[in-house]
Amino acid sequence: MDFLSTMRLALRALARNKMRSGLTMLGIIIGVGAVIAMVGIGQGADRQIQDQIAALGSNMLFVGSGSVNRGGMRMGSGATKTLVQDDAAAILRECPQVAAGSAGTVTGAQVVHENDNWNTQVYGVEPAYFDIRNWPPSMGVTFDQSEVDRAANVAVIGETVRKNLFAAASPLGETIRIKNLPFTVIGVLSAKGTSAAQGNDQDDAIFIPVSTHQKKLTGDTWLRFINVSAVSQAASVGAQGCITALLRDRHRIRAGQDDDFFVRNLKDMADSAAQASRIMTILLASIASVSLLVGGIGIMNIMLVSVTERTREIGIRIAIGATEQDVQRQFLIEAFVLSVIGGGIGILFGIASSWVISAQFKWPVLISPMSIVVAALFSMAIGIFFGFYPARKASRLDPIEALRYE
């Protein structure tokens, strides 16, 4: 029998038992729908984490001054005074994987504007810092190299600082006092929000040229950190190795001795976060897959009942010339049609329910075309897999026995 006739036959057989076919399909609908929705939620969470990490600055590496061991007492990170401006210049010069670098230091300070004051972190950085962190100003400008060279008293403030010191007034051109030193506000950074990695408010900060910070504010000659960006995300691992080797050499650290600095790779952080969300996606999808499996077993069950019920029909068909393949194909296509229609409705159901979830709980849901294609293929495979045994059973019936079956 040709495919079209078999298809028509299958549809008619399914239409004959609408309630039963509907309930059998429901198993697949719920299964496919659950997989689509769960994968959508998982991928949505994954995308959100990726976005947050990208917001920290792409390809970013963080070089921090490290711990030092003084007679058995380890001083904790930031305790060494060995990381210096020349190290930052050397990294830019020596490591080809590095695109940009910004020497940086930080101190906590009370900041005053007219009658308002606010305690915040004051960072000394270089102009490249704002590009590396992917952090443009929302108002005014950031400082340039000439202002760093002459240790100008200029400040770029974070959004939280602006809110606390200026409220509704424009901060541009206003003078603020940091440790009693007057600074002119030349820009306000766009709001970045809470950091994904540390959970602190990134907007609660003031940025001034690193030279000003060192010479006028603290008198320190060493750096707390160097922000570095690699030429690409792939290059960041190589950059990390290069910086580590370079700094060990410059700081004359012998083999076997601990580093007096640390290099953190943002890609590593992104990877571990992405892995966590991927594990969640897999977990959700595998739980949902169980319901898909149960749906498939439902198809198998109904097909077995159907084969038994239609024993006589099968006997007639074999007697008048249906081959084993004809009979097998007939029942296989029936199971296939059940699961494919169920899968199709299930995809719509999954998209609809993830839409409802995202609207209701404000969760980001991402339905990728890939997950729809996989779900469609999977439901087809389920139809064939769970339809195979009943169809085979039908095709193996003895026509003499089958014709006698009451």
Partner: protein
């Protein structure tokens, strides 16, 4: 029922050229637990093209097994079955399905029509498995229904048809692929006597006018008398095999005239 002798037209004898079926020393036994049930114990016979044969015998005589083997639904344990000169034992399962489809028409006792499927679609069924194009299937099915006088009921479902009409649809189904032989297993078993004779009238008509070879299993003597040859089975062997003398043949159309109709 009265038997009315009638002369047989010469055409049947003319068309009866060569053996369409030849069986040689057929044996069949089934193993049931420790017992071996012998269903056929050496059957040898020939059936020529154009014959109308009644196969008779009590239940357990082996006639059903014999028919199943003729219909290629079952295989003999030993012996040979030549259908139109070819030994069926050599065929694969797929070949046998094709033979059942192309060369053999089946009519069953219980009609065995597919429910919720129209008379036309039921008739078409064998043509569906021989992969004929849709138009050709319809054409042939309508012709077959026409032969059994049911063309006007082609869109009726089995539940809307009487027993006799259902059996006629089954006969049309058996004819749709223009087979060499028509095998009927107790075709009148579920029918009243008048309808039974109506079915015999169709058989005689198909046999005489279309030269169709018909082999019919029955245990009713008065049905068997409509056939031209009666083979009686007993304990797995052929007990008697005799031809009705042309003058003693019963014409179903004639018998019907003397039978009361349902309205009477």
């Amino acid at each position: 029922m009265t038997t009315v002798p009638r002369s047989v037209p010469e055409t049947v004898a003319a068309k009866a050229s060569g053996a369409v079926i030849r069986v040689q020393d057929l044996h069949k036994y089934y193993v049931m637990g420790d017992n071996r049930v012998h269903a056929l114990r050496g059957v040898t016979l020939e059936i020529a093209r154009g014959e109308f044969v009644a196969v008779m015998g009590a239940s357990g005589s082996g006639k059903s097994t014999f028919m199943n083997i003729l219909g290629c639904l079952d295989k003999p344990t030993s012996g040979h079955y030549y259908l139109e000169g070819t030994d069926v034992a050599r065929f694969t399962k797929g070949d046998l399905a094709k033979i059942r489809n192309q060369r053999i028409g089946f009519v069953f006792q219980g009609f065995n029509l597919l429910a919720r499927t129209t008379a036309l679609e039921n008739t078409e069924l064998p043509a569906l498995y021989s992969r004929l194009p849709r138009e050709e299937r319809h054409k042939r099915a309508m012709e077959a229904l026409n032969m059994v006088g049911l063309a006007d009921r082609h869109d009726h479902y089995p539940s809307q048809l009487s027993g006799g009409q259902q059996q006629r649809v089954a006969i049309a189904r058996g004819l749709v692929n223009q087979p060499s032989i028509l095998l009927a297993d107790e075709p009148t078993g579920n029918l009243d006597s008048r309808t039974s004779v109506e079915i015999m009238e169709i058989f005689q008509d198909l046999n005489k006018n279309n030269g169709l070879t018909i082999i019919m299993v029955t245990h009713e003597m008065d049905i068997a008398q409509f056939a031209r040859r009666q083979i009686v089975f007993r304990d797995g062997t052929v007990r008697s095999d005799r031809y009705t003398p042309p003058n003693d043949c019963v014409d179903a159309a004639y018998v019907l005239k003397s039978m009361p109709t349902l309205e009477d």
